[in-house]
């Protein structure tokens, strides 16, 4: 039973370096457990590795294999890709580095040309990763350009301006490349942008379509914005979306409205902010949407990774999409239709009585920010954030790093000036020992908690589940850890020396499984100590390669 995995590993290692990453390979990323070809490891956003060399039985022997020190100062939030033995990662401000994934040695480096006077309103000019298609690597820039690099040399193939940084637009998320297209979101709602998702021709950089996350004059949904408020309606698209090749649908989370805290001048639901949108990949047209937080005034954007999986609901097999939303609720939707199927709070939230039959929150009176402040949980950073959840098809569980803390929300008057903050308030968070976190395993169909591993403080790092029966995660205090995917029991941990503020991945080179995560301005890569249990497969090491 171990043979298919070993075969895959062997093939991965024997493949010529920098082979073409075809669209077919991206669609079947799970068939290449040695590689990590997309932001989330597969197009469905699961962040699950079918590798099973590191298991619950031997993870205690996990040791550092190599460490990469970033050239740029600044905390890495990158989620690396690994293609046939080569790792591509981004540093602060979107610089790209290609490394030998076995040894950590640098192969090439691409330095962004950052213009003086760069605007980064409401966030640091971070970067969360690249996309790869054929022999090209795609990366966004903090001044809202999209760049295509030759995967062998790092040389620029093309650069296109996506939006005007002078208005606050920026790109921090990893692009998604599929079917000849490169998709990218933008950020900048904190400066009152009008957000969108763009699709570019991967070969030429020519723009194929743009989907505005805020409908314009004459478009459906504009009636959910008072007056002309849609023009500065925000709706960033920070975080890499997911794609279902069978349905041809792209799923992307939309950010908060502008102005952030003061909703007085934008009466209505403010579509499609704080919503999940399903777009036709070929045309960019909206197939359906589901809004988690209508008329948001707490910064609870839907900038979380939408996770695609299959499930049986009421006796019927259905294609599903789940999101552990920043507002504190876990949602399950039918991903073909957008139908709401389930919604459950996964932290202690204080703003909604619950969800109605359509999944719309029943908001508690008095939960809006005010001049004198309104205290409630979650805080502006939410119950989850940009970092990734994980779904294990093997364990049948959804994992989320949950944040439990409250905040006092204030509202101030605000007016729009291009390229300036457009916030209308602020918050003072309740920190210290009262603020905590947890890794939670949820029943993917209902959101009911199966187990919870408490964290000392509200986390800022994503999770990875593996076929070895493990869930990897990180803490603000610098600990990178492995839990039993079935029980949540801690099995291994390592002090990395800096805050873990990134998503882990797993890959293999030469038959050896690695687990990698960024911590501070380093990338730390772990593998089993040589000889430690690698030749002693147990039942739990059986590979569970499940195809999408």
């Amino acid at each position: 039973m171990r043979l298919p995995l070993l075969l895959a590993l062997a093939l991965g290692a024997a493949a010529p370096l920098l082979a073409q990453v075809t669209d077919a390979r991206l669609r079947a990323a799970r068939r290449e457990p040695a590689n990590w070809l997309t932001y989330s490891g597969d197009l469905g956003g699961q962040r699950y590795s079918p590798l099973a060399q590191v298991t619950t039985a031997n993870v205690a022997a996990l040791r550092p294999a190599w460490i990469y020190q970033a050239a740029m100062p600044g905390t890495l939030q990158t989620s690396p890709l690994v293609v046939d033995g080569v790792m591509y990662l981004t540093e602060f401000q979107g610089h790209v580095v290609a490394l030998d994934a076995r040894s950590g040695r640098v192969l090439w480096r691409y330095q962004q040309a950052i213009p003086p006077g760069l605007l980064a309103l409401g966030f640091a000019p971070t970067n969360r990763g690249v996309a790869v298609l054929d022999s090209t690597v795609f990366v966004g820039s903090p001044d809202a350009r999209l760049i295509a690099l030759d995967a062998r040399s790092g040389a620029v193939r093309w650069t296109v301006p996506v939006a005007d940084n002078a208005l606050g637009y920026a790109i921090t998320g990893a692009p998604l490349a599929v079917d000849g297209l490169v998709l990218t979101g933008v950020s900048g709602a904190e400066a009152g942008i009008r957000g969108f998702i763009d699709a570019y021709d991967a070969r030429t950089g020519e723009r194929r379509w743009r989907f505005h996350t805020i409908p314009g004059a004459g478009e459906a949904g504009v009636e959910t914005w008072g007056g002309e408020s849609w023009k500065t309606g925000g709706g960033s698209t920070w975080v890499t979306g997911s794609y279902d090749p069978a349905l041809g649908l792209l799923y992307w989370g939309v950010g908060n409205p502008g102005p952030l805290w003061n909703g007085d001048d934008r009466p209505g639901d403010n579509l499609y902010t704080c919503a999940l949108v399903a777009l036709d990949l070929r045309t960019g047209t909206l197939r359906w949407h589901f809004q988690f937080t209508p008329h948001d005034t707490h910064d609870w954007d839907a900038a979380q990774v939408p996770v695609l999986f299959e499930g049986t609901v009421a006796g019927r097999a259905r294609p599903l999409v789940a999101m552990a939303n920043r507002n504190g609720f876990y949602y399950v939707l039918d991903r073909a239709t957008g139908e709401f199927l389930a919604g459950t709070p996964y932290i202690r939230q204080e703003w909604a009585e619950g969800l109605d039959a359509a999944g719309r929150p029943v908001v508690r009176p008095g939960s809006e920010p005010t001049d004198t402040g309104t205290s409630l949980a979650p805080n502006l950073h939410g119950a989850s954030n940009w970092y990734s959840p994980s779904y294990s098809p093997r364990a049948g569980l959804f994992y989320v790093a949950a944040r439990q803390m409250g905040s006092r929300y204030y509202k101030y008057p605000v007016s729009y000036t291009p390229g300036r903050y457009f916030l209308g308030g602020g918050e003072a968070e309740f920190g210290g020992d009262s603020a905590q976190g947890a890794v939670k395993a949820l029943d993917p169909l209902t959101g009911r908690e199966r187990w919870s591993f408490p964290l000392f403080s509200p986390p800022w790092a994503g999770l990875l589940s593996t076929a070895g029966g493990l869930v990897f995660g990180g803490t603000n205090e610098g600990v990178f850890f492995a839990l039993s995917a079935r029980t949540g029991r801690p099995l291994w941990h390592f002090q990395t020396g800096a805050m873990v503020n990134a998503n882990p991945i797993s890959y293999a080179v030469g038959g050896r499984q690695y687990v990698a995560v960024a911590a501070g301005s380093t990338l730390q890569v772990f593998a089993l100590a040589t000889g430690a249990g690698r030749a002693a497969p147990t039942d739990s090491t059986r590979p569970a390669v499940r195809l999408p």
Binding site: A124, D371, G373, Y412, A428, G431, D433, P490, H493
Partner: protein, 270 residues
């Protein structure tokens, strides 16, 4: 309070709406626009770490007459714009020079304090402080003394007379705060903890640092203990306690006044 209406509004009414506050203040005189604008920026950009009103949080309190890393107004603007390397203070390159100046003006307003009239005799307070086995057994002041309690060389910049008095008489309620052990501070700098080990031993101490797997505590005699939390049978945290004893019954009212007067004058090198 012998403070100006503006400062009173800024220091006390930190949550009042700006427009209403400006109207109210105008009865006493114009509010400098820089300070009003600076406050707006501060509360949306700085307060999350430095606290609403600059009272401190994850990042240091800024309601101080002197800021160690920003002794001059120019230096303060520079810190705001370019940050402090090696700390969590990032440069706010998104601020214009005018906005940085406005934030700096607001921060300076926070630190302005009315002079306090202190009844005690600082010289008498200094003698009490220096008595053998007293404060210097745990605190360092101008390089003298020993121990792991807070350095008091600049305590007069950090605490006003009422806070100094509370520190002496009810230290558990006057806990200094610390950004450690995590990014989501503030934490009490001297949290009392009680750990029950697997072997059945009870260890009392003060938390030095903590994460999910490790607790480092200091026992009363100064011994550091690094504990693996996963092996503990029980871990209890006891907020509101301080390793410092109360001196409410040790000193007379006059002596407390003297000590407060002495400590209020500890403002470091001029």
């Amino acid at each position: 309070m012998r403070t100006t209406p503006l400062l009173a509004a800024l220091l006390l009414g930190s949550a009042a709406p700006l427009a209403a506050q400006a109207a109210r203040d105008s009865a006493f005189g114009p509010v400098p626009r820089d300070i009003v604008e600076g406050r707006r920026l501060f509360e949306s950009q700085c307060a999350r770490c430095h606290g609403v009103g600059g009272t401190g949080g994850v990042a240091p309190a800024l309601d101080r007459p002197r800021l160690r890393r920003a002794p001059t107004d120019e230096a303060l603007v520079q810190v705001i714009l370019t940050g402090l390397p090696g700390t969590a203070m990032i440069g706010f390159w998104n601020f214009t020079a005018e906005e940085a100046t406005q934030v700096a003006a607001y921060v300076r307003a926070l630190g302005r304090r009315p002079p306090e009239v202190l009844p005690g005799d600082p010289a008498a307070g200094a003698r009490l402080y220096a008595e053998p086995g007293r404060c210097g057994a745990c605190h360092i002041l101008d390089g003298q003394g020993a121990g792991w309690a807070p350095d008091l060389s600049e305590v007069g910049l950090r605490l006003n007379a009422a806070q100094l008095r509370q520190s002496l008489t009810d230290p558990g309620a006057a806990q200094p705060i610390s950004p450690l052990p995590s990014v989501h501070g503030p934490y009490p700098a001297f949290l009392a903890v009680e750990a029950l080990t697997a072997g059945g031993r009870v260890i009392h101490g003060t938390r030095v640092t903590e994460d999910d797997f490790t607790l480092v505590l200091r026992e009363a005699d100064g011994t550091l203990r690094s504990l693996d939390k996963t092996t503990l049978r029980r871990l209890r945290k006891i907020p509101g306690q301080s390793p410092m004893p109360s001196f409410a019954a040790t000193f007379t009212a006059t002596e407390l006044d003297d000590l407060v007067a002495y400590l209020a004058g500890r403002r470091g090198a001029p």
